[in-house]
């Protein structure tokens, strides 16, 4: 199981690297789709069917939005010359990455191996959840019953985002 997930995660990393370095923006967006759809397979392997369904829908919508934006433009990645400022940025990035890598190295001692034990918190959600929520799908039980206010907040965020998108796309700029 861990091998399969590692292989797919490797593909995701390759797709992400290609997406960052592609010259054509359309190929970059489609390479981003590789990452998203590989994540769907990972969710299926990790026994999370609800997540896989949601992710496949969301990824498709995201891809459509991104392709619409990119097709509306010149699609060219603006490559300037690799000057001193670009070197400074790249150096900063590598320094930050190494710092984070060191933190992960220290934190990895506390991580339990994959698939070893459940979090203590989860037992309260698993035991007797069917009787108290009436839902045989435990994820639905958590989302709509134990964490109902969380879901309400999520819906609020979604509505706010839709209103924001409508507002941004409808206003007219000063120069048209």
């Amino acid at each position: 199981m861990e091998l399969a997930i590692s292989v797919i995660a490797g593909f995701m990393i390759l797709g992400a690297i290609y997406a960052i370095h592609a010259r054509d923006l359309l190929s970059a967006v489609i390479a981003c789709g590789i990452v998203g759809y590989s994540l769907v397979i990972c969710f299926l392997l990790l026994k999370a069917p609800d997540l896989a369904i949601v992710q496949i829908v969301v990824e498709t919508i995201t891809l459509i939005i991104m392709v619409a934006v990119v097709l509306d433009s010149s699609r060219e990645e603006a490559y300037g010359k690799f000057d001193r400022r670009a070197w400074i940025t790249a150096g900063t990035a590598v320094a930050i990455l190494f710092a984070l890598f060191w933190f992960m190295w220290m934190a990895s001692a506390d991580l339990s191996p994959l698939g070893d034990d459940t979090l203590r918190m989860a037992n309260a959600y698993i035991d007797g959840a069917v009787e108290s929520t009436g839902s045989v799908n435990l994820v639905t039980g958590v989302v709509f019953d134990f964490r109902g206010y969380d879901t309400l907040g999520e819906a609020t965020v979604l509505v706010t985002a839709v209103l924001g998108v409508l507002t941004i796309l409808r206003i007219r700029g000063r120069k048209g």
Partner: protein, 112 residues
């Protein structure tokens, strides 16, 4: 443990893209790559060896289930990720229509 490390490397890839790229669309893509790595990490922490998907079969209830709590949280996070991405792309397309470029350095140099 390999899966956790690869997941972390995926996060670093996205972070590198956010810091070094100058194209707004590439920055948005890198942000969603970082998002995906976080989802994968949370789903990995919830996995349990030999567990089944957290859907209770009433006829045969004694089984090992995968942890439903991280899954519920990732479900919320995925939808919010869609909302932020849509917002970001709307802002980006407005910027492109005003300035005619995705390059953040050029946009900074122009007077707006």
């Amino acid at each position: 443990m390999t899966a956790y490390w690869l997941c972390f490397i995926l996060f670093l890839t996205g972070l590198y893209g956010v810091i070094t790229r100058r194209n707004l669309v590439k920055i948005a893509i890198s942000l969603s790559v970082m998002e995906f790595s976080c989802f994968l990490f949370l789903a990995l922490t919830g996995y349990r060896e030999g567990g089944v998907a957290p859907i209770v079969d009433v006829a045969e209830p004694v089984q090992t289930y995968v942890d439903p709590l991280p899954q519920a949280m990732v479900l919320t996070a995925i939808v919010i990720g869609l909302a932020t991405t849509a917002m970001l792309m709307a802002v980006i397309i407005r910027i492109y229509r005003k300035y005619g470029t995705f390059d953040i350095r050029e946009i900074k140099n122009l007077r707006g």
